[in-house]
């Protein structure tokens, strides 16, 4: 065991590389991912690593009960709960390439919404098949499910999930058409205040439930406009999005708006806290998140 430390890392990675290539050449399928890169895959991937929590969740959904195939996940992957105990490869923004390699994956999933392209390229250069998906809006999301299904050899399940998602969205749209759209400020952070612009799927989430984002005109994902422009645009509802475990921070954000009683949302007591773990994960749980959002805006 002690002699293992003396194996030069270069040689070690070479051995690993050869190993990966060997499994690859047995049977090759080709797949074009969201970035247009064609990736060669084995028929039945059995060692899967997911580089973002949302990907872990989606892959688990696709695999249904067969979660043992997932051998590595990114930090904070906690849904379904069984994934919390899978080996972590670090945070999605800066995962450990060596850790990924050491798991001998035959399929790695990455997303443009968080993973660094440089790191993905490194993995590919080391011979790891990486399938990249996009996660910026609902149609990206549907395309991702199809791509993920294809990569896993589970096309049918993928298409089923897309159908399920579409049906869910359609239900919201039907209700949305019957409503007078409320004007919404969605707040993600404080000092500086962070909200949602039209580049984020959260903007689409707001319009899907029939509301209107007061900063939907801003060409950014998460812009930081001034508080005074919030007063100027005077939303009907303020939704403070609660993320993570520290609830107090978000309650304070809600309380802070009370200092501006001339705001319509404050006057009519429509500053609301929204538990958003389901909403911000682009997986099927988003439907659940959307109905929470719908209730927060229209209850």
């Amino acid at each position: 065991m002690s002699s293992r430390h003396r194996v030069p890392p270069l040689l070690l990675s070479f051995v690993l590389l050869v190993g990966i290539f060997e499994t690859k050449t047995v049977s090759a399928r080709e797949l074009r991912d969201a970035l247009g890169t064609s990736v060669r895959l084995s028929d039945q991937p059995s060692r899967i690593v997911t580089l973002a929590p949302s990907l872990g969740e989606l892959v688990a959904d696709l695999l249904e009960d067969d979660l043992t195939k997932i051998v590595g996940v990114s930090e904070y992957t906690d849904y379904p709960p069984a994934l919390a105990s899978v080996t972590s490869i670090g945070s999605y923004t800066n995962f450990s390439i060596e850790k990924v390699i050491s798991l001998h994956p035959d399929l790695v999933f990455a997303t443009t919404d968080g993973n660094s392209e440089a790191q993905i390229d490194r993995l590919r250069a080391l011979g790891v098949p990486v399938v990249v998906i996009k996660g910026e809006n609902f149609s990206d999301f549907q395309a991702s499910i199809v791509t993920l299904g294809l990569a896993l050899g589970l096309e049918k399940r993928g298409l089923e999930m897309v159908e399920q998602f579409k049906r869910g969205i359609e239900n919201f749209s039907v209700r949305a058409r019957l409503r007078k759209p409320k004007r919404v400020l969605m707040q993600l952070g404080d000092d500086p205040m962070i909200t949602v612009g039209n580049k984020s799927f959260l903007n689409q989430a707001i319009t899907t439930v029939g509301a209107q984002n007061i900063f939907g005109d801003l060409d950014a994902r998460y812009p930081k406009p001034s508080i005074e422009t919030v007063v100027q645009r005077d939303p009907d509802v303020i939704v403070v999005v609660e993320l993570g475990k520290d609830v107090k921070v978000f309650q304070r954000m809600v309380e802070k708006w009370q200092h501006l009683p001339s705001l319509k949302a404050v006057k009519t007591k429509q500053v609301r806290l929204l538990k958003a773990d389901a909403l911000i994960r682009p997986s099927l749980r988003m439907l659940e998140g959307l109905s929470l959002l719908e209730r927060a805006i229209y209850e």
């Binding site: 952070g189 404080d190 000092d191 500086p192 962070i194 900063f215 801003l218 812009p223 930081k224 406009p225 001034s226 508080i227 005074e228 422009t229 007063v231 100027q232 200092h259 501006l260 009683p261 001339s262």
Partner: protein, 316 residues
């Protein structure tokens, strides 16, 4: 007699301009017919804090320039601001929340520490003013890079907050904090102003000062303490705002001369005017967004710094 009258006139002019910019700043904003809560919650704290911090930085700059006998000294170039920011950030990460309505206690200590180091270095005889200035610049880099360590380790929200510290920002100021800063700065300005004779003497150089009966080391100690408190207060309220302390004393000196009896009060008022104007620009230039106010002061201040340096044709 004539001199007193012109001094009086320059005071009245400065205060009138300050009141005018204050009123204009309170009127300008995204909301055109602002209600009372917008004025009191959003605009008044900022305008009041901008006045206080502008005054504090300009007076600190004038005093530092006398203390080091170098017109390029100011809180920002000497790195004292970044010491203060470091203190604030370290305090936050160590959980030392000595907060008072948006002001940070550890920022005082940071300013005091960096000013103290600079002071110890300045005690060495062979250290000229250029060396001292460069030392300050380097300490500034050191402070900023230590802040960056914290930045690298914190989450996205923490990074946002730290960036605002580094660029200077007045959006966080609450009304009670602004009132406290205003009176704190006013008191420290008076204390510094009361030492105008010492400051005049220091500006003439140490030997002359000694021959005039000034006890150099105790004067320096007291001034460093007062200036550090002032910078600590300003930075803890608004982050690192550069160049006010450089540009304002320079232009005020041009109009009323270098005697600190007049220089200090006028620096205070014009500093207030400059930062109120900068902050109004910062919050109205790129609506619906806001710029950190330090970006605006640096855009004007950095070229001014170069211009002053070139005009002096070499500093020793």
């Amino acid at each position: 007699m004539n001199d007193t009258r012109s001094t009086l006139r320059s005071y009245i002019l400065a205060i009138a301009v300050w009141i005018a910019t204050f009123v204009v700043a309170m009127k300008i904003g995204a909301v055109t017919d602002a209600s009372v809560d917008v004025l009191v919650e959003l605009r008044l704290p900022r305008t009041l804090a901008a006045s206080a911090i502008g005054a504090g930085l300009a007076v600190s700059g004038a005093a530092l320039q006398a203390l080091f006998a170098n017109p390029l000294c100011e809180p920002y170039t000497l790195g004292i601001s970044s010491g203060s920011a470091l203190g604030a950030v370290l305090g936050a990460s160590l959980g030392l929340n000595w907060m008072f309505s948006g002001l940070v206690g550890t920022a005082f200590l940071g300013a005091l520490l960096f000013a103290g180091i600079l002071y110890l270095i300045s005690l060495r005889e062979e250290v000229g003013s250029l060396t001292l200035l460069l030392t300050g610049v380097m300490m500034g880099f050191l402070g900023t890079s230590l802040v960056s360590i914290w930045l690298a380790l914190s989450d996205a929200n923490g990074i946002q907050a730290a960036i605002l510290w580094l660029f200077g920002d007045l959006t966080r100021v609450r009304l009670d904090g602004a009132v406290f800063t205003f009176f704190g700065v006013a008191a420290l300005c008076v204390f510094i102003w009361m030492r105008w004779r010492d400051l005049d003497a220091l500006l003439m150089g140490e030997e002359d000062a000694i021959s005039m009966g000034v006890e150099i080391s105790s004067v320096r100690r007291r001034l460093i303490l007062l200036i550090s408190l002032m910078i600590g207060l300003c930075v803890s309220a608004g982050g690192m705002i550069g160049f006010i302390g450089l540009v304002i004393p320079h232009f005020v000196r041009k109009t009323v001369g270098s005697l600190h009896q007049r220089l200090i009060p006028l620096c205070a008022v014009w500093g207030a005017v400059a930062l109120v104007v900068s902050d109004t620009l910062a919050r109205s230039a790129v609506r619906p967004y806001e710029l950190p106010v330090g970006v605006v002061t640096a855009l004007v201040g950095a070229p001014a710094f170069l211009w002053i340096m070139i005009k002096r044709r070499g500093i020793r």
